[in-house]
Amino acid sequence: MNPLVLWFHKLGSPPYFYRFGGRWIPWLYALALVAGAAGFYGALFTAPADYQQGDSFRIMYVHVPCAWMGLFAYAFMAANGFVGLVWHIKLSETMAMASAPIGAAFTFITLVTGSLWGKPTWGTWWTWDARLTSELVLLFLYFGVIGLYHAIEDRRQAARAAAFLALVGIVNLPIVHYSVIWWNTLHQGQTVSLVGPSKIAPDMLWPLLVLAFATHVYFFASLLARTRVALLELESGKEWVRALLPAAETSHD
């Protein structure tokens, strides 16, 4: 078998993933910290103030990466949930559920920073604008997934039900998004795009991209850490966990 494919298959095994995660987590956290520090230095010191919004535009450097991560985490959760539902892979179910609280936190930060940014620029903490509303709906979807996951006793059944809800949500998310756009719009349009030139000065752009990278790395570090703990809980009866945690087992008896 192709070594890469073999490695990927091995990664699906909880004990292997546990060791793999343990090796990578410190490096990922360190990388997120360094990239985050560099990004914030650029965001707070080297980027020029906006000609219209002054210094308040710097909130963007927290707001926008977090908004991207809120959506990314949802897509990641739904993709893993799909894999878990179709191929019954325990690790995918666990990862899907581990990414839900992280995504919810990013979405929450997006809403809070958005409202802090809205006060000086629009003159109001909250407005029923299309993007704000769909972000709020996204947060409720996250809460629904997390709530459903914690309401069911059996962990694997809970993960499957919550993953299914995440998939229903992803079908619905475009409908919500376009319906609220049709409903009302005040939020500024897209300024950064992958295809074609971005409508933002390069001095202002690079810290944003570095910070987006840092939040992605942080997401994966946090995801690995959460998944490892969830796997220990899920597999607590298995041989490899007993070998790993002999002290915990004796204290239980």
Binding site: L85, F140, G144, I175, V176, V180
Partner: protein, 227 residues
């Protein structure tokens, strides 16, 4: 209809569920009462001026109807789960999605249809302008089956939980936001004298999608919950 065929099974299920609702028709009136109470509270809170009431009438009626339906959604599968007939439905050789579709149809007939019949009365209570009433009824007729269908998927996920009421609300409400936007939006457009057919057509398109997909999704969700 030959006994044992899928259509006979659907007919039997429809007859049984309707009969069960009829035997306990007092319970079936609860959502109606709830909607009237919610609508009646608004004039007390906002004052009786008809200009104010007329402006919020359509939206208020929409929210009241959706909440009333949500209240009854919780019990969609409960009695079937308790007496074991839900497991028999899952085990039966007929397509589960079709059988669940029948149950959703009964839910709509027994909860939403009475609310629709009562909507003109609610509109009168809130002084909704008469020309808007047909738009309100059309929007409600498209929105309520959507709620029944999407709600059934969420109920199927929470089936078997002892206290699922609050969680169910949390699951359903974000999914139903577009229906509320389009439905109430059509009424507001009609009230301001604008064209209102576009949102209604969107609702209809979404309903067609939900009629096809939601029973399948509910069947898949139910199988997850009952394993």
């Amino acid at each position: 209809m030959k006994p044992g065929t899928t259509s006979a099974a659907c007919a039997a299920l429809l007859r049984r569920d309707l009969l069960l609702v009829w035997r306990r028709r007092g319970d079936a009136l609860n959502p109606l009462l709830f909607a009237i109470i919610v609508v009646a509270l608004f004039p007390f809170a906002l004052g009786p001026e008809t200009t104010v009431l007329a402006r919020i009438a359509a939206g208020t009626i929409f929210v009241a109807v959706l909440l009333a339906m949500l209240l009854s959604l919780d019990a969609l599968f409960r009695s079937d789960l308790e007496d074991g007939s839900l497991e028999q439905l899952v085990l039966s050789p007929h397509p589960l999605a079709l059988l669940l579709g029948c149950k959703v149809l009964v839910h709509w007939l027994t909860t939403a249809l009475p609310l629709l019949v009562m909507a003109p009365l609610l509109a009168q209570l809130l002084a909704l302008p008469a020309p808007v009433l047909p738009v309100l009824l059309a929007a409600l007729a498209l929105t309520t089956p959507l709620l029944s269908l999407i709600g059934a998927v969420c109920v199927a996920l929470t089936v078997g939980m002892r206290r699922s009421g609050m969680l169910l609300t949390l699951l359903v409400l974000p999914l139903i936001v577009p229906a509320l936007i389009f439905g109430a939006g059509a009424c507001n457009a009609a009230q301001s004298g604008f064209a209102y057919s576009a949102p209604l057509l969107w609702l209809a398109a979404w309903l067609v999608l939900a009629v096809i997909l939601a029973p399948l999704a509910a069947a898949a969700a139910l199988k997850i919950s009952l394993t």
